[in-house]
Assembly symmetry: C2
Homo-oligomer: 345 residues x 2
DNA sequence: ACGTCGTTCTCCAACGATGAAGAACACAGT
DNA sequence: ACTGTGTTCTTCATCGTTGGAGAACGACGT
């Protein structure tokens, strides 16, 4: 016998297979002596349950999918760690599906669950947009959305304070005296999405102080929010000859790229130019100088997303029928001041 | 009918379920007209095969495990991306198991495969050591080891040129005139592992030029190779008052932390101190200044590890019996020169 | 004495696919 | 006409577990 089955355990303990199953799944009406015999048999045979058979019979795999663009990007790597940690606490496994910032990758991730084994999906879209929203509704498995790329009133959604975060970042710069603040990370293509919302926060903060947006201060990064593009966008802004005394970057990678470019040009941070990022990835703490940034509440996002998904899974399980309406959860945001901005006076 | 089964397709196409199965799995003896009818029925019903049932019957899940310490660390995040990409090309799914640098996490990862669904495991140990090697032998599933934490002649293993890499890094510094080269990332605890090997490369390079290792130049980072510890270790070295004109850090995060500390102390890189890292994570390209580092061949490592694992899985599948002896593959290494070191003369 | 109830356990039939074996048929060679 | 061979498809059992139904038993109230 290569690997023992429940029937083997049952035979050894002198009970039926179903009793073994009952013992293992915590069914209460088992005589103590029986339970002990069964557990002893399990031990002696080194029995471990066959998960596949259990899934086939019960219809639940205890596996959820996490579709994110790329783990190499620290924001998503760290987010994935948080989701995995939360999942471990709840005894769930996570299948990560990197979508590579491509439409095909994201469509594939949406199709996978039916074909693969996952019970539900946490999905952070980057390439799909609002016009694809119908793809996310009426899926035959529970879905939790992350980010601000696509919104639907039919799907649970966890997101962050984008406008408020960018506004707080910009206000900090204004408070320390900056008046020529560049925005790094503008996107042409999208009408929604983090770029638009963060730009909105930037604009609102300026306008509250009676300042207008100067197009020459907008740094475009249509190829993605990587460091390289942050450097490029910063260079483009500086090359217009416009005066710059502050930078709001729409994520930390852009900010670090921009700081790189500022350094190359011999500008001192924060003396000549103050810089604020967005995301609070681990790098931000150890750059030179360390980066002031917005902590968007990553841990909260991971935790809430998983909880929402598991709650939906329970709803499917118990046909008691009280289907909750979809939730939109916005995580708490926090400004983290470090060395790339001067102290507030 | 919520979700159609093979029997439904069969009924619709007027054939038996087994014929549907045969069509879908590419069995050759099917009349063309039958094949078409079946595929039409599949289309019409939107049928997708139930993976769980297939696994139960066939015994293979097409899922492999990847056990790494933490995705938030760019090296592992990027490694995971490479493994996932390679897996996608081969139509395999990957279940990532973060072990959190803990012994318990790693032991759990080793136990999981039996309980969970994976056919095999790619394992990058960080907390287990050579004394645990017996845990890795005689597992009842195929295993591929990564890294240099544990070695076994019974297990396939993919690793990198640690000694040669650290030696190349140190030689570069010597070539550009450094003579007081700090080594950042020393560990007390381990007798094997990357730290020891990279230190060995450092020492060999020095000794080849007739230089001795100066204990004051050794920066310890027993709490892990994070940026924070790189900064701390660098600070400790500088605080001894010893003169430093070069730094070999045992990974990029340590190097970036060390650069941070050097910056804080007003030392210019590379003018006052030249710095070399190890790993070539994406950050290294965009730090200020950009970091000279060793590319250990991450993509090759991911690819070869997956291939070795899949090859073992095939061996299990076909009892033809020619079990290949375990392989030790060492990936190609490459020195990437950037701004943190002066040009070689 | 009898029905009711709670406890403890068993039996059977699924879940949905596939491997093994073989039936039915056509066609060729003798 | 008969056997052999190749093609095409079917039947049946099976992977290992769990849901549903209910059997067996004792205790309890009436």
């Amino acid at each position: 016998m290569v690997v023992p089955t429940m029937a083997d355990v049952a035979r050894r303990a002198g009970v039926s297979a179903k009793t073994v199953s009952n013992v293992l799944s915590g069914y209460p009406y088992i005589r103590e002596s029986t339970r002990e015999r069964v557990l002893a048999a399990v031990d002696e045979l080194g029995y471990e349950i066959n998960v596949t058979a259990r899934i086939l019979r019960s219809g639940r795999s205890g596996l959820i999918g996490l579709a994110v663009p790329e783990l190499g990007q620290p924001y998503f790597g760290e987010l994935a760690d948080e989701v995995l940690a939360a999942a471990r606490r709840r005894d769930v496994q996570v299948l990560i599906e990197p979508t590579g910032f491509t439409r095909e990758g994201e469509l594939a991730a949406l199709r996978e669950p039916r074909r693969r084994l996952v019970d539900g999906l946490v999905f952070s879209p980057a390439a799909l947009d609002q016009s694809d929203v119908h793809l996310l509704e009426n899926l035959d498995y529970p879905l939790v959305l992350l980010g601000e790329q696509v919104f639907s009133t039919h799907v649970d959604h966890v997101t962050m304070h984008n406008v408020e975060g960018a506004r707080a970042a910009t206000e900090l710069l204004l408070d320390v005296g900056c008046r020529r603040i560049a925005a790094i990370g503008m996107l042409h293509a999208r009408t929604a999405g983090s770029a638009t919302l963060r730009f909105q926060g930037y604009r609102e903060a300026l306008e509250d102080r009676g300042l207008a947006v100067d197009d020459r201060l907008l740094g475009w990064a249509d190829d993605g929010w990587h460091r390289a593009n942050g450097a490029r966008a910063m260079a483009a802004v500086l090359d217009t000859g416009v005066e710059v005394d502050g930078v709001v970057a729409f994520n930390d990678a852009l900010a670090l790229g921009a700081m790189h470019e500022l350094g190359v040009r011999g500008l001192s941070i924060p003396r000549d130019v103050a810089v604020v990022g967005f995301d609070d990835v681990e790098d931000a703490r150890y750059s030179v100088p360390s980066l002031t940034t917005i902590d968007p509440g990553r841990r909260e996002i991971a935790q809430v997303a998983l909880d929402l998904l598991l709650r939906r899974l329970d709803e499917v399980g118990s046909p008691g029928g009280s289907v909750r309406p979809p939730v939109l959860h916005v995580a708490d945001m926090r400004l983290v001041e470090r060395e790339s901005t001067p102290r507030r006076v």
